[in-house]
């Protein structure tokens, strides 16, 4: 991303964001609620278009892609939404099956059965969950199913939007473990949007802090831990105080 600006009415959310993710790494995008982390994530997949600036994925300028090209690009990106965003009129099985973006494979019932079972196993859910409707699932399970749907199409990139928000600490830890496990198994490039510092330190190779519509600092978890920067310290200290944890 280069110089991305995005406003909603008079409210400027992103004010010249420069942000790069290298192949194979996991980057955690941190920042307090309402700073535009999810907005930034939606630009990567073309769900939002910038007012100005460039968004490049695989060398393609996302805002300028045709419908067919953006469809092909999206087939390479898995997007796990904050609340799961499961289709509530479809079973869990059908939800995950929709993640199989190759039309030929999507119509192959045997492949779909295998793939859905595999994805459910990857997110540590039992196969019988496939028969349930989203309304029957807990918040944590919905997030897991959302991740299962995101990985069903074997994407090259994975975007997580607040994977641990709304979860209790035990489930949040389990979710972080799941993200780590998926990184090891799938070897994908990932962006994790979060305001959970501890979890981000656990899963990320690099961390970026979004502050006042701009990327304030990018660095490894170690660099962040030892940063003297006032904004970084303020953000980290607040989160660790809330968690009752320390460095």
């Amino acid at each position: 991303m280069r110089g991305v600006v995005k406003s909603f009415g008079a409210h400027v959310v992103l004010n010249g964001v420069d942000f790069e993710v290298r192949s194979g790494e996991t980057v955690a995008l941190l920042g307090p609620s309402g700073t535009g982390k999810s907005v930034l994530l939606k630009h990567i997949v073309g769900l939002l278009l910038p007012d100005s600036g460039e968004v490049l994925v695989d060398g393609l300028s996302v805002p300028h892609l045709s419908r067919d090209s953006i469809t092909r690009l999206r087939q390479r990106i898995g997007y796990a939404f904050q609340m799961g965003a499961l289709f509530d009129s479809l079973t869990v099985y059908e939800n995950i099956r929709l993640g199989i973006t190759d039309e030929k494979l999507y119509r192959n019932r045997t492949y779909c059965d295998d793939r859905v079972a595999t994805c459910l196993k990857m997110v540590n859910l039992s196969p019988d969950v496939g028969r349930k409707m989203p309304g029957e699932l807990s918040g944590g399970m919905k997030k897991r199913v959302g991740i299962a749907r995101a990985i069903a199409g074997k994407p090259r990139y994975l975007l997580y939007d607040e994977p641990t928000s709304g979860l209790d600490p035990v489930n949040a830890d389990a979710m972080d473990a799941l993200i780590e496990q998926l990184q090891d198994e799938l070897r994908v490039t990932s962006v994790v949007v979060s305001h959970d510092v501890r979890g981000s330190f656990r899963v990320a190779d690099r961390i970026a802090l979004l502050h006042h519509g701009k990327i304030h600092k990018v660095g490894t978890p170690d660099e962040f831990k030892h940063a003297k920067d006032e904004v970084v310290r303020e953000f980290l200290d607040r989160d660790f105080q809330l968690l009752g944890a320390g460095f």
């Binding site: 769900l47 939404f81 929709l98």
Partner: protein, 274 residues
């Protein structure tokens, strides 16, 4: 005191003079923006027709919802409309015109106006509210974003099947409504006015032209598209959480009902020879 009041009134007038043009301009721009977005949606719908593998199975499902699900309420409305038309015509015409005219009045009123318009208004409430609420909820819970992020076209998955179901099923429901309205009209005329079957049928056939039925079907087709496409547009573009969904639902019902009435007038002017 008077001076203070006068100055307050004059300052309010001045502020109105300043703000009124910007308020009008804002509404005009919003109106044009809706026209633009709606036109784009129509183009997207036409373009999505080629993705038949996506929309055909879902359209069949929606046809069942619209057709079977609305059958009872359409039958009920048409039956009451037929009976009331018959009773009112009897009240107005008894003693002044031959009884067989009742057959013509009931038949023409039901076919030309009551069955298509009442069915469309009922469906604007039933299907319109449902579609706007469904799509609005999907929008605010990011389900539509999720569909797009999976590289799937929400127009062919969600909107086109709903519009197709309206275009296919509303004419069918209107035919059913016509039959129900005619039957109830005949029964009401027979029981309250004592008209014979022969006279009723004679009157019905005397003034009937086959174009009347085509006219009803053309109206039904247009109404079928209107009562689905407007709620789809409104729901698809819903914003701001539960309040936005509620607003979208109301807007969808009001706008599709008003458009049905407007279209009714326009089609009468265009298609009925005077």
């Amino acid at each position: 005191m008077a001076t203070v009041a006068e100055s307050s009134v004059s300052s309010r007038t001045a502020s109105l003079v300043v703000t009124a043009p910007s308020l009008v301009a804002r509404h005009v721009i919003a109106g044009f923006s809706h026209v633009g977005r709606f036109s784009r949606l129509v183009l997207e719908l036409l373009r999505a027709l080629r993705e038949w593998r996506q929309w055909v199975p879902r359209a069949v499902e929606q046809c069942q919802n619209v057709g079977y699900g609305s059958l009872f309420i359409v039958l009920l409305t048409a039956s009451f409309a037929g009976a009331v038309t018959s009773l009112q015509a009897g009240y107005q015409f008894t003693g002044s015109v031959p009884l067989y005219v009742m057959g013509a009045v009931v038949t023409e009123s039901i076919i030309l106006e009551l069955a298509p318009v009442l069915s469309a208004l009922i469906l604007a409430g039933r299907i319109g509210a449902r579609y706007a609420a469904e799509l609005g909820t999907m929008r605010v819970t990011e389900q539509i974003d999720a569909l797009e992020s999976l590289g799937r076209n929400p127009v062919s998955h969600l909107l086109l099947p709903r519009v197709i179901s309206g275009a296919v099923m509303v004419p069918v429901l209107v035919v059913v409504a016509i039959l129900a309205g005619l039957l109830s009209g005949y029964l009401a005329a027979r029981s309250s006015l004592g008209i014979t079957t022969y006279d009723f049928v004679y009157g019905s056939r005397y003034f009937f032209r086959s174009f009347d039925l085509w006219y009803a079907l053309i109206k039904a087709e247009a109404f079928g598209v209107v009562v689905t496409i407007i709620p789809c547009y409104v729901g698809f573009t819903a914003e701001a959480g539960a309040e936005g969904v509620g607003r979208a639902t109301t807007t969808a019902v009001v706008w599709s009902s008003v458009t049905v009435l407007l279209l009714d007038t326009v089609l009468a002017q265009l298609l009925l020879p005077t």
